[in-house]
């Protein structure tokens, strides 16, 4: 091991031993000198010598030669030393005359016009270069005798160093491929053409949509705001470097020298409200959300991830409709938190306010998004929040749930759990019930099965059991009984199936059934949504994939002999309610809550869900006695409709809200 090289690393500001040990815990475990570790092993493992130093990028931009398996940091430091030595020897070239013209630049042999051009670049650079910042930020420059501005002009700009706090060289290069391609000093490019062309000097500047929105909130143009913030920074820096502020710091430093360690930060003072990208995005998003809400309070919020074909979205719509019968629709606010999808606006009652929270939070850090949601909900001065599968809301409860529950009553819907690829149970009920039941006013289950399961698993005490409610999802549009199938003996029976073409729905079982019944035509509606398992299946010849339908009643129900349902796990799916409402004979798997529709003697429940023969036998029973099957389906229809009316659902919601008021 070369001791000189080890010293070079140890003494370099580019190597941060403390950071290195924290980042790579094996160094401490090996009880090694971190510099030695980097010299011998770290660089071979592509490790960074310090947090902010991207060795690879610097080597690329400076053209440092690292051939022959040299430690690249050593190569770079040697390259740097050579550069500094060269610049120091040419120092007389770099000092501008007071008049602003570099008149004493010694001839630069062989450079001619290039030298003239460098002079003018240098002059231009000096108008905006922050030497105090540069020297504080890059301690290798402070240690060397090089002219900082000249260093930046010739090297620093190409190494990704910043000439001042409000110009981010790496960001500028990343945003402007032409600058990288032409190998121009990025800051000079900005001064010469970039600014005039409206290119952004840093992520948080005019051109950033959230920055621009905050400017609008402040009644100024983005450029005005950018200039104002820059002026404020300059003013403070000026007074710190030569003014009363600076005197105050100097006096404080005498009382505690630690005060002085802050000088680099002081050269880039934060100017509120433009302090960070995170806050700026939150502020702009909050303003836009409140604008969308019409700057009016609301009483109830319903939170949903999105509105597309999904049982949860349908339930959210039923819930909103029920709430609209209890509150002024304008007092109800529906918030889509995960995506902007709003496929079925007609599901929701008119007059409710619809908020696209997802659109305002694209690219926002998860924790900031949660906080924004909490602040938005609180600003609405709500009485109740109903969560119907909003991930952001569930996650926000972790940090802010208790505080939020002091402002409004929190209710959450729980549907069935899911199984992951390994067959393990996952989902909101398994993950969240025990964590948040104490702060939720009500936990609503769509099936008795799920409520019983939770109560049994967690030994829910009687006083808390009342907050675990089962609400029978209503059948909002009562479908008339489908016309009985009039099939001639020579016509093939038809079986329908509909749902997401995902693992949960066990399309593979449905296909296996179809293969066992080549004399029957099977029609499938739906599309893969959550996984790609469907792609691996081969579609039997007697199966027709029909795509999506918009309204259940648009289906050719008069030609359907039987409906097949094969999910492995479920709550009480809407499709079963629709089918039972249409009085179509039903053959389906008992999985979670489906037994609340697939009632024995009124349908054909299959308890062993992978028993293909059982489905086949059940379908054959339906085909052999269509009148009997029809009669049983009509009986099921009567029971389901009486139990699951919209008015019964609204009454349940009302009793839930009233019951809470009484409990207060």
């Amino acid at each position: 091991m070369n001791e000189n090289e080890l010293d070079l690393i140890r003494n370099s500001e580019l190597f941060d031993a403390e950071w290195y040990c924290g980042q790579y815990p094996d160094v401490r475990l090996l009880n090694m000198d971190p510099a030695e570790h980097f010299l011998r092993f770290g660089w071979l493992l592509d490790r960074k010598p310090s947090r902010d130093f991207d060795l690879k990028q610097v080597l690329d931009s400076t053209g440092t030669d690292v051939s022959g398996r040299r430690n690249p940091l050593i190569a770079f430091l040697k390259h740097q030393n050579a550069v500094h030595a060269s610049d120091t020897s040419q120092k007389q070239l770099t000092k501008p005359a007071p008049a602003g013209e570099i008149t004493d630049v010694a001839p630069n042999p062989g450079r001619g016009k290039q030298a003239d051009s460098e002079q003018s670049d240098y002059q231009l650079l000096l108008t905006r270069f922050d030497e105090a910042y540069y020297v504080r930020r890059y301690q290798d420059i402070a240690r060397s005798k090089v002219d900082p501005a000249l260093h930046f002009l010739r090297h620093g700009g190409f190494e990704g160093r910043n000439p001042r706090a409000d110009f981010d060289t790496r960001f500028y290069v990343s945003q402007n491929p032409d600058v990288k391609a032409e190998k121009i000093n990025p800051f000079l490019h900005y001064l010469k053409v970039g600014r005039a062309e409206g290119r952004q000097p840093a992520p948080l500047s005019a051109g950033n949509q959230h920055f621009d929105h905050v400017a609008e909130m402040l009644n100024m143009s983005p450029r005005q705001l950018e200039s104002l913030v820059a002026e404020r920074k300059e003013d403070i820096k000026g007074r710190l470097l030569a003014g009363e502020l600076g005197e105050m710091v100097a006096k404080a430093e005498k009382l505690d020298p630690l005060v002085k360690h802050v000088w680099l930060a002081a050269l880039d003072p934060g100017i509120s409200p433009i302090r960070s990208q995170g806050w700026t995005h939150q502020i702009a998003a909050m303003h836009r959300l409140q604008e969308s809400a019409g700057w009016r309070r609301a009483k109830v919020a319903v939170l949903i991830p999105w509105v597309h074909v999904s049982g949860a979205a349908r339930v959210a719509a039923y819930l909103t409709t029920a709430l609209a019968s209890l509150f002024d629709p304008d007092d109800i606010i529906v918030i889509r938190t995960e995506t902007s999808e709003f496929q079925f606006p007609e599901w929701f009652p008119e007059g409710c306010r619809q908020i696209d929270f997802a659109a305002e939070t694209q690219g926002m850090e998860v924790s900031n998004k949660q906080r924004l949601l909490v602040e938005f909900l609180r600003s609405l001065k709500l009485q109740h929040v109903f969560n119907v599968n909003s991930l952001t809301f569930w996650e926000a409860l972790e940090d802010f749930g208790i505080a939020l529950s002091k402002s409004m009553k929190l209710h959450a819907y729980l549907f069935c759990n899911e199984k992951n690829l390994y067959g393990d149970w996952v989902g909101y009920p398994v993950r969240n019930y025990h964590k948040y039941a104490d702060i939720l006013q009500t936990v609503i289950c769509d099936s008795q099965f799920l409520a019983d399961e939770l109560a049994a698993r967690f030994l829910v005490p009687p006083q808390q059991a009342a907050s675990l409610r089962v609400l029978d999802t209503p059948i909002n549009t009562v479908i008339a009984p489908a016309t009985p199938v009039m099939r001639r003996p020579d016509q093939r029976p038809r079986v329908y199936w509909a749902g997401r073409l995902d693992r949960q729905k066990r399309v593979d079982i449905a296909f296996a059934i179809a293969e066992q019944m080549p004399d029957v035509d099977f029609h499938f509606w739906g599309k893969p949504t959550l996984d790609r398992g469907f792609e691996k299946l081969s579609v039997p010849e007697n199966v027709t994939l029909e795509g999506l339908y918009k309204d259940f009643e648009d289906l050719p129900l008069a030609k359907c002999d039987a409906w097949l349902y094969t999910a492995e796990w479920d709550g009480v799916p809407n499709i079963l309610l629709d089918v039972s409402s249409a009085a179509i004979p039903l053959v389906g798997s008992i999985a979670g809550g489906t037994g609340e529709v697939l009632v024995q003697d009124m349908s054909e429940p299959v308890t062993q869900i992978e028993d293909i023969d059982a489905y086949v036998r059940a379908l054959r029973r339906v085909f052999s006695d269509p009148a009997g099957a029809r009669s049983r389906a009509l009986k099921l229809r009567d029971i389901i409709l009486s139990k699951r009316s919209s008015s019964a659902y609204s009454a349940s919601i009302q009793s839930l809200l009233t019951c809470e008021d009484e409990n207060e």
Binding site: L245, M248, K251, V259, S272, R371, I402
Partner: protein, 253 residues
């Protein structure tokens, strides 16, 4: 007539040596205020002090400071109690691990005196927050009349902090909220700033003044952050009121 123009309160719990630079900076600032003709009362509020802290603050060197002991376990309740105890027309608090710039009390007092003459209800903050030790950061505070004042910022960040000089009347009328970490509520200074704004007080900054905030692992702000505390749900931040926050500054009645 008040005997004192200004009551300066240092609050402490377990601070010992770290309070040395604090006391020295405060005494230098009091001398500067005294030189400008302001009469300053010195109070020390100890909240559940550790034995070491008690010994430290009862040393002879600090006998010019009148000490009061409490067992709130809440620095803001100490402040409320010290407001009752203090007799200055204005009151300023300093945490025992922070430092102030030498001109803080005098510049802020001059600003308050001017406001009094002009019939303005104001609360004064130092112009800069200079965060040192565990973190390094400097940021400027924004006068409510400044073109960069934006009420929406207060949902996510505090324009000011716990360092303020206010008329004692403001602190009496609007006491600090109690600490409620169990329910996720912290930042009583942030809450107080919003509540006073909502009540018509204008927050301003005293030019060229600085609070040097020593950030330590167990600083109040660190605890708030670690526990993901938020400010209480406040009426001035309601959707239909937030845009007007700060625009309806009321004259002294």
């Amino acid at each position: 007539m008040n005997e004192f123009d200004l009551t300066v309160v240092i609050t402490a719990h377990n601070e010992t040596l770290v309070a040395g630079p604090c006391v020295l900076s405060v005494e230098a600032a009091i001398s500067a205020a005294d030189a400008k003709g302001f009469r300053v009362q010195r109070l020390l509020g100890l909240d559940n002090p550790t034995r070491e802290a008690e010994q430290y603050f009862r040393q002879d060197r600090l006998k010019a400071w009148e000490i009061a002991e409490f067992s709130f376990g809440d620095p803001f309740q100490v402040r409320n109690a010290m407001v009752e105890r203090g007799s200055g027309k204005w009151i300023a608090f300093v945490d025992a691990d922070d430092m102030v710039s030498e001109n803080w009390f005098s510049n802020a007092a001059l600003r308050l005196a001017r406001a009094e003459e002009e019939g303005e209800k104001i609360i004064v903050h130092p112009e800069l927050n200079w965060i040192f030790e565990a973190h390094q950061m400097v940021f400027a505070k924004t006068d409510m009349n400044d073109e960069l004042f934006l009420p929406h910022y207060l949902y996510f960040a505090n324009y000011y902090d716990m360092m303020a000089m206010a008329p004692r009347e403001a602190a009496l009328r609007i006491p600090y909220g109690h600490r409620d970490l169990k329910h996720g509520f912290g930042y009583q200074d942030w809450q107080w700033n919003i509540e006073t704004m909502g009540a018509g007080w204008r927050h301003v900054v005293a030019r060229d003044t600085i609070i040097f905030k020593r950030r330590r692992k167990n600083s109040v702000s660190e605890v708030n952050r670690d526990r993901h505390c938020i400010v209480r749900d406040l009426e001035p931040m309601a959707i239909d009121k937030v845009r007007n926050l700060g625009s309806g500054v009321l004259p002294v009645s």
